[in-house]
Every structure is written in structure tokens, then in C-alpha cells.
């Protein structure tokens, strides 16, 4: 099984995680630029962070057989700090880089005028740089925030097939399905979405334009949740091909729209037969 995690913050994870992810079948990941738990106070720390996403982190991932790309943006939460506005001026330089496969994470957190402005500017930058967009949806007042996000995306004129709306749940999946945008689901140990609810949504909505991610970061999260969803799909009757669609083909198709997704170093996954044995036996670690 080959797995592509389209949203994971490896900067916050250890080499043990990389080893376990490889063993579970993860061969490619995208690390979106986001906030780091501790708010930053100057644009310089963003430049260092972006450099890490383009330099050290892909190098670290490669040591463990995993191909790393990233998305670059000023995240919604920190766009509310006026000291960080100059980050928007740094972006064009970083959006020109080879391993940047989207603008993101952009979107809303508190839904403020500053967030409106940062989102609109970054949607323009995506159009200028020919990049797709990864859009975060808010944790609080999610349905209203997602509806507003879809309105702004529509007004921006970006084609919906170049936009991925992330962190969806039962409340928000329907409106995004109608919009024509891609649908992202973050599967967490006990919030956002779990693997059984994910399977239920896939049964209702099909696998078209559906992406599943672990969104693992510095909070309580699990970088193997992509694999857990694959296993849950197989146990509930989905075919190997459908699993491959959701966990490999869809993220590849979405990010390949950047023209910069380079998977030539991806190592082969283990066999399906091997997986069925592994599922029945205790994990050897």
C-alpha cells in the first residue's frame, strides 16, 4: 500500500514518526506552513520557517524514504498580528520555489477583517504563481466559517478544482461537495474526524475529490491515521483501488496541478498481500 499524506506538520515530529510512517506505507507527504503553537512576532522567523520547509525538512524526510513537498502562506491566526503583515511581501519569493506545490494554509480562524485581507491577497498570489490553494476551515463556528470561505473563493475567480477545503466534517462536507472544490478530512485521535466517521462519509459521498490527512503536528495527533483510514476502508468493503484513489491518486492529482510535484524518488510500497497479513498480526515494532 502506498500512502500520500497531503497535510502533516513534520517539523513538530520525530524521526521515530518518520520510521513508523514509512513502515505503514507512507511514501509522500505535503507539509503546509502553519502556526507553531507559540505565536511568532517578526517576519524573520517566518523566513527561517519557510527555509526549513524547503531545506532541512525534505532532507530529513528523504533519510527515511519519504518524499516531502510543502505549501507556503501566512496562516490565518497569525495574519491578525500587524507586526507580521510584511510576511505577505516575502511570499512571492517563496512561492517561486520548486517544492512548493500550493499556497496554504490560508483561510479563517476568528473571521476578522485582517484575515479577510490576507486570504484575498493570497488567493491572488495563487493565481499569479499558477498554484493550487489549501484552505483551512475554522474550528469554532465551522459551518458558518466554511460557507464564508466558499463565498470568498468563488469571488476570487479561482477555478474550484484548484482549491482544497480542509478539516471538513459531517456539517460541512455537503456544501464543499456542491462547490466543486476538493474535500480534505483531518483524522485525529479524538477531535475533528475519526476513521469510522470518515468511512461513513466516503460511503455517502464517494471517493471523488476526497483527501484524507493526519494533520499531525505539535498537538495530540497521530501520523499513522492515514493508514488507519485505509485499513478501516478495506474492513468495511472498499476495494484496494478505492483506497488507492483516496490515499494516493487524489492527493497526487490535486498537488500535481502546481506542475512541481516530483515523485520520481518514491520507493515502491509493500504488496497488498503483505498488508492483509500485517493487518491480522500484531505490529512488529
Amino acid at each position: 500500500m502506498r500512502i500520500f499524506d497531503p497535510h502533516i506538520h513534520m517539523t513538530s515530529r520525530t524521526t521515530d514518526d518518520y520510521e513508523r510512517m514509512y513502515a505503514a506505507g507512507v511514501r509522500a507527504i505535503v507539509e503546509p506552513a502553519f502556526w507553531l503553537g507559540q505565536p511568532r512576532t517578526s517576519p524573520g522567523t517566518f523566513a527561517d520557517y519557510f527555509d526549513g520547509l524547503l531545506g532541512w525538512e525534505p532532507y530529513r524526510a528523504a533519510q527515511f524514504g519519504i518524499v516531502h513537498h510543502c505549501t507556503i502562506a501566512l496562516n490565518p491566526k497569525e495574519s491578525n498580528d500587524p507586526r507580521l503583515r510584511p510576511v505577505l511581501d516575502l511570499l512571492p519569493r517563496y512561492l517561486a520555489k520548486d517544492r512548493v506545490v500550493a499556497v496554504g494554509e490560508v483561510g479563517y480562524d476568528d473571521v476578522t477583517p485582517a484575515e479577510d485581507e490576507a486570504l484575498a491577497r493570497q488567493l491572488e498570489l495563487a493565481a499569479e504563481h499558477g498554484l493550487p490553494v489549501l484552505v483551512h476551515t475554522p474550528h469554532r463556528d465551522k459551518a458558518a466559517g466554511t460557507r464564508r470561505t466558499l463565498d470568498v473563493v468563488r469571488e476570487s475567480g479561482l477555478p474550484p478544482e484548484r482549491v482544497l477545503i480542509d478539516h471538513l466534517n459531517e456539517m460541512t462536507v455537503g456544501m464543499v461537495a456542491e462547490s466543486g472544490c476538493w474535500m480534505g478530512f483531518s483524522v485525529y485521535p479524538d477531535t475533528k474526524m475519526d476513521e469510522d466517521r470518515m468511512v461513513a462519509i466516503l460511503k455517502d459521498y464517494g471517493s471523488d475529490r476526497m483527501l484524507v490527512n493526519s494533520a499531525a503536528d505539535w498537538g495530540r495527533s497521530d501520523p499513522l491515521k492515514t493508514r488507519a483510514v485505509a485499513d478501516a476502508m478495506l474492513s468495511s468493503g472498499f476495494s484496494d483501488a478505492e483506497v488507492e484513489t483516496v490515499l494516493w491518486d487524489n492527493p497526487v492529482a490535486f498537488y500535481a496541478q502546481s506542475g512541481r510535484l516530483d515523485l520520481s524518488d518514491v520507493k515502491p510500497g509493500d504488496t497488498y498481500a503483505g498488508n492483509s497479513i500485517q493487518r491480522g498480526a500484531p505490529r512488529d515494532r
Binding site: 523566513a47 524547503l54 531545506g55 532532507y59 517563496y94 520555489k97 520548486d98 517544492r99
Partner: protein, 235 residues
């Protein structure tokens, strides 16, 4: 501008027609305004490719094309050094590698002098073996002060960059570097860990330094005996 650019590089790099045209045009734009480099430099791999260059072993097309873009800069000396450092600082790993690999050519053609050293020093502070190795090319080997050069070589041993791939050892490996390596070997032997084989040619130039290491091996420490790659004549 583009018509005045020397077509030689495109030919020797084996570029296709479109890539060659892009390079000539890009070099012309950079010659007219160095600020154009910020967006052209990262695009080189996407436009021209990243495969090996037949005529230049150890080089990829994107690296060689990026060095051509650097050579198009209408700058010399300290001004050139500043532009290189800015480009390197905002570069991804592939761009940083190209800046490092371009330093010898810029030294020759553009009077770079010591002005490329800030880039070399930054690369030597990283833990990325590719950058450390490139920093110890001919330019770094010529310009780094003794202490920095020795520390850089020892760092290579630590992070697994083969010493055969770095420049300057023939002329710059001195007794102090040999002492540092002998101490390193001793530390590894006491810990029961392997000693990389490529340090011995440096240490052997100064036989007096071998005494302690030899004594350790003679004690018949099972770790040392099992883990060491020391040459046969030491045991």
C-alpha cells in the same frame, strides 16, 4: 540583450532549444538588472531539467544552468558576495547547492575574492551533508582560515561525508588536524564504535600521534578490535 549572450554554455550543457533560449534570455535580463535573479534562479530546474550533465561529471543541469545565471550578474567583489548571500539565504536546498558550486567560477571570472566566505560558513553550520560537502569544494578549501578548515573536515567525518569528496586535504591537512583526528579515533575506540577508515591517511602523516591509538588497539579491547577499521599495520 539575449542575442549578446554567449551560446557556448547551452551547447556544453546539452540543453534543448527551448531551455537554451530561456537561459540566454534570463542571462540577458540578469545582466540588465540583477534583481531579476530572485525569480529566475528558482525556476531553472523546472525549465531546463535536473538530469546529469554528460560533459560535467558531478553536476546536474539545474546546477550548471544556475551557475550560468550567476555568471551573468554584472557585479564583482563585495557586491557580488552580498548578492550571492541574499540568494543563498532565500534559496531552497538545490539553489543553495548551486551557489556553493558556483563559487570557484565566480572567483575566477568575477574577482569574488573572500566575499563568498559568508555562504561557505553558513553551509558549514548546517547538518545537511550535501551542503557541507559542497562548501568544502575548491573555493572553501582555498579561502577558509586554518581553524575553520580543520573543523569543517572533522565535521565531515562526523556526518559521514567521505573525505575523498572534499577539496584541499593534500595541501591543508596539517599536524593539528591529524591530532584532532587521532583524538577522535581514540574517543570512538573507547566507546566501542567504528572509526571511519578515511581518517587514517591524514593521521599516518604524523606517526607520533599514532602512539595512543596504537596502545588502545594493543590492549586488545574487544570493542576496539571488533569495531575499528584501522589499517593492518597499526594492530
Amino acid at each position: 540583450m539575449s542575442t549578446t549572450h554567449d551560446p557556448g554554455p547551452a551547447l556544453s550543457l546539452g540543453l534543448g532549444e527551448e531551455a537554451a533560449r530561456w537561459l540566454a534570455d534570463a542571462a540577458g535580463r540578469i545582466g540588465a538588472d540583477p534583481r531579476a535573479l530572485a525569480s529566475l534562479f528558482p525556476a531553472a530546474g523546472r525549465v531546463c531539467g535536473r538530469g546529469p550533465v554528460a560533459a560535467m561529471p558531478g553536476w546536474t543541469v539545474d546546477q550548471a544552468v544556475r551557475v550560468e545565471l550567476l555568471r551573468a550578474l554584472p557585479l564583482t567583489g563585495a557586491d557580488l558576495g552580498e548578492t550571492l548571500f541574499d540568494l543563498y539565504t532565500h534559496g531552497d536546498a538545490a539553489e543553495r547547492l548551486a551557489v556553493l558550486k558556483g563559487l570557484p567560477a565566480l572567483e575566477e571570472d568575477r574577482g569574488l575574492g573572500d566575499a563568498g566566505l559568508p555562504v561557505v560558513r553558513d553551509a558549514l553550520r548546517t547538518n545537511d551533508a550535501r551542503l557541507v560537502r559542497a562548501a568544502l569544494g575548491p573555493y572553501g578549501a582555498r579561502h577558509l582560515p586554518d581553524h575553520s578548515y580543520r573543523q569543517a573536515i572533522l565535521k565531515c567525518v562526523f556526518i559521514g561525508v567521505p573525505l575523498a569528496e572534499v577539496s584541499g586535504l593534500d595541501t591543508r591537512a596539517d599536524e593539528e588536524l591529524a591530532r584532532m583526528m587521532a583524538d577522535f579515533a581514540q574517543e570512538r575506540l573507547l566507546a566501542g564504535r567504528e572509526v571511519p577508515a578515511d581518517i587514517w591517511p591524514v593521521v599516518e602523516r604524523y606517526p607520533s600521534l599514532l602512539t595512543k591509538v596504537r596502545a588502545l588497539l594493543a590492549e586488545g579491547d574487544p570493542h576496539a578490535a571488533a569495531g575499528s577499521d584501522a589499517p593492518r599495520d597499526l594492530a
